[in-house]
């Protein structure tokens, strides 16, 4: 380029060879030369700039390639299902359960208020501030898959007195054909409220038949093994059987026999009559050896018991914001054995055929839930024979409950509940008011049906 221009200039110079123009042309040539030099400089500078830009672009390209490779690696990585990294951290959640309690009865009366003919154990709640149903103010839950074959769950309730190992169990996940085994210490699936944790109940306290037959917390954590089977049928039917140590001190008793002495069988069924309704029901039985002194005030009972149950739940859920749940359970107890007087050691026979039921309804609207419940004992059966003589135990026990709940989020619940309780059989009523707070932090626990 420069050369061509020079030749052109030379030619121009030659053609205007006359002396008169020589001075003028020399000046012109000089100025042309200057501009040329300047132009070539700018061209060089531009080339440099282009080259550095090229370098930048190439760098970016390689970076992008690296990033997309990293991304595709990330995408192909399987994530732990429960979210987060389940390999190093098990899922942990803590539950706070606290309530304020007020009753027309004083604390001593509450403590001694059993249900004559059923249980001698009184109420757990005391006037004023309380930590949790059954005094478990905090519960620590830990769960995680062990390997492709087992999941482990731990539930440790904390009370003022210390920690209890309420539940620790493994569930198999790899058995074929819908079979599953559970082993360790766990809550029996014998009936509905037993399997639920107290914070998941629709009221602050357990239904009256449970309190009467198995205690304030239900059967509670029992050591043993459970087998269940969900066959692939057109409808939902699950079969289950359990072998338990039998340590519940209301229905069984740790000292009733040296080995496992409690067994359960259950069937759970469900179908959906319409698009928005679900029906869930099933019979169950829990039977075994009994030996404890929580049934009679003056004697230890030693014998055999069988508790038959029937549960039914009807749910109507047209939308996430609204729904109705009706739930009822019926329990029937047969018990026969000996009652040994605690002071005189005389032995009488004891035969019981007693029953109880509850019916409850919950209406949910947005964050609010409104509940009502009616419990009653001795509905059809009230046979209580000591030394073959029917005992008069007092008035029929019953209770009526109303509640209002606000659930600000999935993790918090505020409940106001009122009980009119006539289970003391002495003509006196226990009018209870409860304001309860249940708050959960940590891993999101799934809701059971």
């Amino acid at each position: 380029m420069k050369l061509v221009l020079c030749f052109l200039c030379l030619a121009l110079f030659c053609s205007f060879g006359s002396g008169a123009l020589a001075q003028d042309s020399a000046e012109r040539l000089n100025s042309l030369e200057d501009t040329l030099k300047n132009q070539s400089k700018t061209i060089e500078e531009q080339q440099k700039a282009i080259e550095s830009l090229k370098n930048d672009v190439e760098k970016q390209k390689s970076q992008e390639l690296q990033r997309s490779q990293e991304e595709s690696q990330l995408l192909s990585k399987a994530s732990g299902f429960f979210g987060g990294n389940a390999l190093t951290n098990p899922n942990i959640s803590v539950l706070l359960d606290t309530f304020a309690y007020g009753s027309n009865l004083n604390n001593a009366e509450l403590e001694n208020r059993g249900i004559p003919g059923f249980t001698t154990l009184g109420k757990d709640a005391r006037n004023g501030f309380n930590m949790g149903a059954a005094e478990d103010g905090a519960e620590l839950f830990i769960f995680a898959p062990v390997d492709p074959y087992f999941n482990v769950y731990v539930n440790l309730p904390f009370s003022d007195e210390g920690v209890v190992l309420e539940e620790i169990f493994a569930i198999t996940t790899a058995l074929p054909e819908g079979f599953q085994a559970k082993l360790g210490k766990f809550k029996s699936n014998f009936s509905r409220l037993d399997a639920q944790h107290p914070h998941a109940w629709d009221f602050y306290d357990i239904a009256l038949p449970y309190r009467a037959f198995v205690g304030n917390e239900g059967v509670g954590g029992e050591k043993g093994v459970q087998f269940s089977w969900l066959p692939s049928l057109p409808f939902y039917t699950q079969f289950g059987a359990e072998v338990l140590q039998g340590e519940n001190d209301q229905l069984f008793g740790a000292g009733a026999r040296s080995g496992p002495h409690a067994f359960s069988l259950f069937v759970k069924n469900s179908f959906e009559p319409t698009e928005n309704t679900t029906l869930y029901f099933g019979p169950s039985v829990l039977f075994g050896k009994t030996r404890n002194s929580n049934i009679l005030t003056d004697a230890e009972v030693d014998g055999r018991s069988a508790l038959y149950g029937m549960e039914a739940v009807w749910k109507w859920k047209p939308s996430s914001r609204e729904g109705v749940t009706l739930q009822s359970e019926y329990l029937f107890l047969t018990q026969r054995g000996d009652a040994t007087d605690l002071t005189t050691a005389t032995v009488d026979s004891l035969r019981r055929h007693q029953d109880g039921f509850y019916l409850q309804g919950i209406y949910q609207l947005g964050r609010w839930r409104f509940g009502a419940r009616y419990d009653m004992l001795e509905l059809f059966a009230d046979s209580f024979k000591r030394a073959d003589v029917q005992q008069y135990l007092g008035q029929t026990p019953w209770r009526a409950t109303g509640s209002i709940e606000c659930n600000p989020s999935d993790f918090s619940r505020i409940r106001l509940q009122y009980n009119h309780d006539r289970s003391g059989r002495d003509g006196r009523s226990n009018n209870e008011a409860i304001l309860q707070f249940i708050l959960g932090i940590g891993a999101h626990a799934a809701h059971t049906f």
């Binding site: 994530s79 299902f81 898959p145 790899a174 066959p231 939902y236 989020s409 799934a446 049906f449």
Partner: protein, 293 residues
């Protein structure tokens, strides 16, 4: 007893599989719809969540557990959207085929370029999804990737029909290309919208509009009157183009704000199915884009 046994045998006989193809269980309607595009009549799809349900607030039902029991593959949205019921379903359905790590366990979010991953998050901020925004079914680009992922998963489980699934994915991609041109022709660049819930972030990303405010101050927590009042004042000044909402999630609140500010509401379908003419995912996206016009 004999009657009971014969009834049981009869029901067992009824349960014997009349359908030989893969049993696909999808959590959300759009997942079922895309799976159907790939598997056509060679798969049976069961969708767990109804189109009219809020996917954040689903409760596990025995019928879902039964569906999980019979599934050959479980396809779910992921990013913790199903955290309230899926862990329970996985365990209670007693079906090893659909457990994490198995070919029958498909977390669709694995194929997605996730946005809004939060590193510092706690529940005082409301129902924030720490793994990222889970509502990627509004994102055509991501749904195409999910469809490809599904195709591979189905082909992996059912080798005999692999060419069939791959051919269907090709048809899906071709249809996607044609529709994508149409959707991209809707010019939303530079528009400013207020939304009820954090549902439309993927849509904003792909179509170049801005979300300048939310009716919910914190996701999943109903807004306070004070927040709505502040939003109304703000909207009177900033004059956004519209309020985006879905047919059943915050529509009432959005409409009352619209009446007070003069800003119109745009009602988008929330998933495949709840509105007329949203029978599959393409129709759903058509409806979404046409709602803006």
């Amino acid at each position: 007893m004999r009657k009971l046994l014969s009834a049981l045998c009869l029901s067992l006989a009824m349960a014997s599989p009349a359908f030989a193809g893969l049993n696909v269980v999808a959590t959300l309607p759009w997942i079922g719809s895309v799976a159907k595009e790939i598997g056509k009549d060679r798969i049976a799809v069961t969708t767990l969540v109804k189109p009219s349900q809020d996917p954040h607030m689903v409760e596990a039902k025995p019928s879902m557990i039964l569906a999980g029991r019979k599934a050959d593959i479980l396809m779910y949205n992921g990013l913790d959207l199903e955290i309230g019921y899926l862990p329970l379903l996985l365990e209670a359905s007693k079906n090893p085929k659909i457990l994490p790590g198995k070919p029958g366990h498909l977390d669709c979010s694995r194929f997605v370029k996730v946005i809004e991953k939060s590193t510092a998050v706690d529940r005082s901020m409301g129902d924030v999804h720490p793994l990222g925004n889970p509502h990627y079914h509004y994102s055509p680009r991501n749904v195409l990737r999910v469809a490809e992922g599904m195709t591979n998963a189905l082909a992996d489980l059912d080798r005999a029909n692999a060419p069939f699934y791959r051919a269907n994915f090709k048809a899906f991609a071709a249809k996607w290309n044609e529709r994508q041109n149409r959707w991209q022709a809707v010019n939303l660049k530079g528009k400013r919208f207020v939304a009820y819930h954090k549902l439309f972030e993927y849509l904003a990303n792909e179509f170049g509009f801005q979300l300048v405010g939310y009716v919910e101050a914190k996701p999943g927590i109903p807004p306070s009157a004070a927040h709505i009042q502040a939003l109304i004042e703000d909207m009177k000044n900033s004059k956004p183009d519209a309020i985006l909402t879905t047919s059943f999630y915050g529509k009432k609140e959005s409409e009352s704000i619209a009446a007070k500010t003069g800003v119109k509401t745009v009602v988008l379908p929330s998933d495949v199915g709840p509105l007329k003419g949203t029978d599959d995912w393409f129709a759903f996206m058509d409806k979404v884009m046409s709602a803006f016009q």
